[in-house]
Symmetry: C2
Subunit: 200 residues, 2 copies
């Protein structure tokens, strides 16, 4: 489940967008640390109290921004109703590499070491959600297999994510594409324990 289509009150959708956009703009002007909730609310032409009705604090807002931009990248690249396949897995891995490289090495993001953990947790969790969904549909419906699906999704999500972080922090001698292919092989091996991967 990459995107959740809820029929929410238009006001809610609008306010959330305004806040996210304002935050995004501010991030390109000054450091995360120096951005206050007041700044964000003011820029978004939204009352400060309204901010707190939507987000716990500015960290929560950042978190939602990361998760949603990741989700958007995926919906752009994956077919509408994606399932477990060799092709889709490759897209997924490549997307994670690109996202991580944007966050870490990108010039657009200040990326203080303080909020790297937040980025990491968000990306890994979103990754897990996609993988879990794929596996759930690829494995025969069996209560006993549920646990195995969870474990497999967890392991693979960390495998992909960890590789991406390590690569982004390294000298990056290899291209994203090459890295993605190597990770693919590892993932395939782990995956083959549970389900066979269609070449599509």
């Amino acid at each position: 489940m990459v995107t959740e289509i809820k029929s929410v009150d238009p006001r809610v959708k609008r306010t959330r967008q305004l806040l996210q956009q304002a935050f995004f703009d501010l991030m390109n002007e000054k450091s995360f640390r120096s951005i206050s909730v007041q700044d964000i609310a003011e820029r978004a032409t939204v009352n400060r109290a309204t901010f707190y009705a939507h987000f716990e604090d500015k960290y929560a807002l950042l978190d939602s921004c990361i998760r949603e931009s990741f989700q958007q990248l995926l919906t752009e690249r994956l077919p509408a109703l994606s399932s477990l396949s060799s092709t889709n897995m490759h897209i997924l891995i490549l997307t994670v590499f690109e996202l991580i490289s944007q966050i870490h090495g990108g010039t657009c993001s200040p990326s203080h070491k303080q909020l790297d953990p937040l980025f990491e947790e968000a990306v890994q969790q979103e990754l897990y959600k996609v993988l879990y969904d794929w596996l759930k549909h690829a494995v025969p419906v069996d209560a006993n297999r549920t646990e195995q699906v969870e474990v497999t999704a967890t392991a693979i999500s960390w495998a992909i994510f960890g590789s991406a972080v390590r690569w982004s922090q390294s000298s990056r001698t290899l291209h994203k594409e090459e890295m993605a292919n190597r990770v693919m092989q590892v993932v395939n091996g782990g995956l083959s324990q549970v389900v066979s991967l269609a070449a599509e």
Copy 2:
């Protein structure tokens, strides 16, 4: 009084902007006639009932769009606190010419004959407001002169406006600037009956 700075509820300002923008976009896609209130509300992501809370109908919305775009053109060109002067009068006249030529001859606006009267009334009235304000401050405060100020503002506003319409419907052999200068002379003559115009 070119612009009115009211401290309105941010929601009101936002909704009005959304509706005006939606209308503007739709005007570049289809004819005024074929645009329904439903279309506008939908495009603006605003409930249809909310539309009616702000505007009588789509004609009223069009009217506000014209008036406000005129006002914006003026605030861009005139100094912050403008007063009656030769320079400012020239700017005012030229702006009217440009606005009218946009509306009538411009390729951007379909300009059906049906709603020309609406354009005309809106522009003329806005023009009157500016002139009245200028004259009120230029003429010595005297209750007896109030009537004279009103008459003068009316006459001059029609003089400028009428010239602009006539020119826009003609073959336009002369440039806007030349026309503006000629109108200036006429206006100066009428104005000199009431107040002397500073050359600035």
